[in-house]
Every structure is written in C-alpha cells, then in structure tokens.
C-alpha cells in the first residue's frame, strides 16, 4: 500500500510526458489478487493464468524499455547541444570572444545555467524512473509468489535486471559529465548586489519548476519506501541513509499533508 501511494505521488509530480510511462502497479496488484482467488485458476488453468500474467509484465517492461531508450538518445543529443552552446557563448560574448559583451555573456550564461541544471535533473529523474519501476516489478512479483505460491519471482527478476531500462550506466555517465560542466559554468565568485536584486524574483520560479519538485519528491519517496516494512526479508533493501533528509523534507512546500 505504501509503495503504491508513493509511486502515485511521484507520478503526479513528474513531468507530464512521463506520467503514463510508469508501472501500472495498482492494476497489477489487483490482478494478482484476482489470480490468487480460486475461480480464475480453476477456470483457465494455472499455467495459462500465469502465462497471461507474465505477458502483461513483459508488456510493461517493453513500455519501460521503449521510453527509456528514447529518453537516453534524447539526452545524448541534448548534452552535446549544451556543450556546443556553452562553447558558442564563450567564443562570441566571452572576454576573449569575437564580440565581447559582458551583459550578453552574463545573460546567456544565466540561461545556460538554468537549462543545464534542469537537464541534469531530468537525467537523474530518468534514473529514478528506471529504479522505481524496477522496484515496483520486484514487489509485484513478490506478491504474486506469495499469493499464488508460485515461483515466478526469482527467474523473472533476473531477466528484468538485464533489460535496457534497468541498465542506467550511460545515463549515469552523462549525469557525471553534466556535473562537471555545471562546475565549470557556475561562477566561483559571488554575484554583486544589483544582480541579486534583479534576479530575486526568478528564484521563485526555480522552486516551482517541475523538475526540482519531482526530484525532492523522488528522494523522499525513496527514503520512505525503504523505511523498514512489515514484510522485510532477505530480498528487501535496508533503510536509506540520507544525510540531508531534514533539509530535503523542508522542501516539501506543497504537500498539505505531511508525508510520513
């Protein structure tokens, strides 16, 4: 129940284009319950029922794979584009550029910074997407085995581990590269006061951005999901170690109900 709620929350906070790409956890859970009730199996035979179930799971996996790979390709392209853009800005309006202009440079750099931070966020969210779908699948399989006395979980999960959507190495690498770029692009020195005064209103929009909120929600969800459960077992993840937990909790500016 908790995971389902968490997943739902995350989906709500996620970017609109992503919302229907997540695991249909609730539906699958209902299905498991249905399967475990005697009727269905007696009528159709357990093998068929399970085959159908596996078929559905595979469909979900396909959905993840397709979406994930699309996003991955997109990220690769955007990453390249950002690099080029930065280079262009430096070469054109930078101090040593063809038409040095501090105002333009600062302006463009500000835009780049915003874009790159959001890009970074999106990539991390894709990794999160992968992970949360995997977690959901693992849970569904566990439920299935528990309710039907089946042995679906272990072999199936082995298969899942090798699916493209779960292999997030490339995206992680892009994230790291992006972080390096961010370090380069962000100013070391403090901005002066006038700049700060000018920018003050913009800071609000950063908070409102879907990506930031989504990230916060994702992080906190993860922590909650892993907060020791009643069905803790050999295959359960240990509670999460999140050092800035309190700080991040404070970012939950929109939840009417504290997420406990």
């Amino acid at each position: 129940m908790k995971f389902g709620k968490r997943l739902k929350q995350q989906i709500e906070e996620s970017l609109p284009a992503w919302r229907d790409k997540f695991l249909s956890y609730k539906e699958l859970k209902k299905l498991v319950r249905l399967i475990s009730s005697a009727e269905l199996c007696v009528e159709y035979g357990k093998a068929d029922v399970e085959a159908e179930f596996v078929h559905l799971l595979n469909n979900e996996i396909d959905k993840f794979n397709v979406f994930f790979m699309e996003q991955e390709e997109d990220f690769i392209i955007r990453h390249k584009e950002l690099q080029q853009r930065i280079k262009r800005v430096i070469e054109t309006w930078g101090p040593n550029g063809t038409k040095p202009s501090e105002a333009e440079y600062k302006d463009e750099m500000a835009k780049i910074r915003k874009d790159i931070v959001n890009f970074h966020g999106e990539m991390v969210l894709l990794v999160n997407y992968s992970n949360i779908n995997y977690t959901g699948l693992a849970k569904i399989l566990k439920k299935y085995d528990k309710r039907t006395g089946g042995l679906l979980r272990l072999p199936f999960i082995q298969k899942v581990l090798q699916q493209p959507f779960f292999i997030t190495d490339l995206v992680s690498k892009l994230v790291k590269e992006c972080e390096n770029t961010i370090d380069e692009v962000f100013p070391v020195e403090q901005e002066d006061e006038e700049e700060i005064v000018k920018e003050q209103r913009e800071a609000i929009t950063v908070a409102g951005k879907g990506i930031f909120r989504n990230t916060v929600a994702a992080l906190l969800s993860m922590q909650e999901i892993r907060r020791g459960s009643s069905t803790y077992g050999h295959f359960s993840l240990p509670p999460m170690d999140l050092p800035d937990s309190d700080l991040i909790h404070s970012f939950q500016l929109n939840s009417p109900i504290p997420i406990v």
């Binding site: 596996v54 931070v117 272990l154 006061e193 990230t215 700080l247």
Partner: protein, 433 residues
Amino acid sequence: MPSSFLALTSFKDKYSTSPSSFQVSSGREVMENSVSLQESSLAPSNGTLGNSSLSPSIVTNHMCASALPHVQHSHNPAFISQSSRDLASLPPLDASFSHSTASLIHTQGNKDVSWSLDRLQMFLDLPENTPAPNQLVESSTSVLASEDHNKKTNWQEWADDLINVVDPDWSKILDNTNVLNPRVEVPKPSGDISKEQPLFHQNQLVPHGEFSSHAYPSSTAPPTKPRMRWTPELHEAFLEAVNQLGGSELYWNIFLFGIQKYRTARYMPETSEGTSEKRITSIEEMKSIDLKTSIGITEALRLQVEVQKQLHEQLEIQRNLQLRIEEQGRYLQMMFEKQKKVEDEKGGAPSSASDDLLAPLPGSKHPPCNNGKSDSEALEQDHSRTRIGPGNAGTNEDKSSSGVSTKQKMPETESTVHDESGFSVSKRARTEK
C-alpha cells in the same frame, strides 16, 4: 475571501479581548489589499493548503509570543500581517528562534503543525552547533543596519500596500519601526496609540528577546512559555490569513534563507582555510535578503543541483544493492540446486525422483521454473529484439509469448525444482516422497 474573513472574525472573537472595529475591518481589507503573490508557481494546485504545513511554524511564534503576560490574548488581523512580515524580515533566523519553536510545538496538539515545526526546527537547529552563525548573525545585523535605508524604501511600498486602509496611527507605527534591526528602539509614535504601541513594541521585540539567549541580549522579559492553546480553528484561520498575504513566496524565501544558513553552517566546520572568505560571502549573501527572496537564482540553482546529485547518488546505491541482493539470491539458488543434485544422486534414480517432484505439482509451477541459463537465453532474445527500436510492438508480443513457451518447455529438461528460499521446495519434496 468571505470564508477567510469569517475565519478571521471567529479567530478574533476567540482570542481578542479588546475587539475594536478597526481590527475586524482592517483584517479583511488587509487581506484584500495584500500583495498576494498567488501566482507563485510554488503552489499550482495546493494553493492554500500546500503552504499550511509551514505557516504555523513561523507565525505561531508571534502569536504565542504576543500572548505573554503583558498582553494576554490580544490579536488582530493587522498584527498577523505585521508579524508575518516581521518574521520574514528577520534576517538572522536565529538558532534560538528554533528553540522556542520547539517548545511551542509540544504545547500544541495539531499534528500538522508539529510535524512541520519539527522539520523546520531541525534544519534551523543545524547552525546552532557552530558558534559561527551567531557571529555571522551579529555582523550581518550591523551590516543590515547600514543597509537599512535601502531596504526601507522597498518595505515602505509593500507596507503601504498592505496597510493603506489600516488605522493611520498604526501605519505610523509601522513606518517608524525599523523592522529589520531588532536592536533599534521602536520610536514612540504620537498620541492616541501610545497605549497600543507597547503592545506592538512588545510583540516585535519580545520574540527576539525570548529567543535571544545568546544573540540579542535585549532588555525584554526572559523567555516564558506562552500559554496559548492551539486549536484546529485557530490553525485554519492562520492558514487563511497568512496565505492571503502572499504565503507561498514567504515560506519559500524563509526556507531559502534557512537553507543558506544551513549551507553556510555546513561549510563552516568543513573548511579551515577560506573560512573567512566563506563568511564574507555569506554575509554578502545575507545582505540581499528581503521579504521577496532571500537568495539569487544562482544559489537556488546550486541548491537544486545539490538535491539532484543526492538523488542520483542514492539511486546508484539503491541499484547496486538491488543487484547484489538478486545476485545473492541466484547464488543461493545455485547452491541449493547443487545440493539437490547431490541428494538426488544419493537417493538413487535422479530422474524418477524429479519426475515425482514435477508431476504432481500444479502446472503453473513449471513455466517459470528455469535456471539462469535458459532465462538468459530467452532474455537475450528479448534484449536484442527490444533494442531494435520503438516500432516493434508486434514482434515484441511474439517474443514475449515465445519467451513464455520456452519457459514451459524447459522443465522437462530440468532436474530440480526451484524456489527462492529453497526451503519450501524441500518441504514439497519431502511430502511428495
């Protein structure tokens, strides 16, 4: 609007001992005239409620503070607006502030409030551990005093917006008061409101006095625990009132500021060299604080990156754990398999034993029962076909069903039955035999 007005009046009725006409009317008008920045993208759908988790934490203090011995239960809506501005304007959200907040938490039954207060307190508490923030605070207030001037003009405009229909005497007070620097004496306004001025003065300084065990040695009363009971109705009224006054931005700003403090505090113990630089930096950062925003966009972005980095790190850790868990599961399974084999061989004809095992079991057990090898074969098929691209819906279906059918065929070549734990299988085996 009307509902909030009603809420306020009921609120006022409960707690105001000296209702005056201006309180009622001004409350409403304050709300209507307030620079309510509801367009803030912070709260797209959860407008009022969304911010409620934070509002009481901040405004609560004032409300309770005002219920001190001198001025028992005297509240008014105009005061709410003032106090929320005050609070937001407090540049050094002192560590001791959070102390009092904490003490107030426990006197209140409201779960929402206490939860958010706990959180707020915790991160505000952080700087407490280092002596630096207080020093920072001190120097920043003196810096602020000199920057006052500048701020005041911004303040003036906003204050005017808020209270232009309020009793002119009140507005005089507000104009005269240096809301930024608590140390500055509140100048006595003229005439008739001299009675209320102590109230105001009190309410402005007392919170600091109460909290300033180490930062502001002021002459106000030593901290006393206010005896105010927080009820759900009061809570509701608060939320309405504060939210009407541009709540979402307020909270965000306060948080941003708190976070900045937090980050400053974090850097303090970590850096030995360049500490003074960092301090100067944060002082300069604090210079820019006013009601609207506390940090510039660069800082906000930096913060965002930090959170994102953390999420990424946690995801990587989680993924590794998941991999290891499954790896271990597989290993256990393998071991069990091996052991089973040995047992079977010992027990005589392995094939007949395994047939016994397989046959009576309900059919459903068989299809998924594969060893790793067959799975990875089926998987590779899956893998390669999926990798082709998005336009594969048809073939994917075939693949998945063939995946299933391969699984169904597998058990015939199998000699053991698999199970995660290995235990239930052996149980079954025993019962079979």
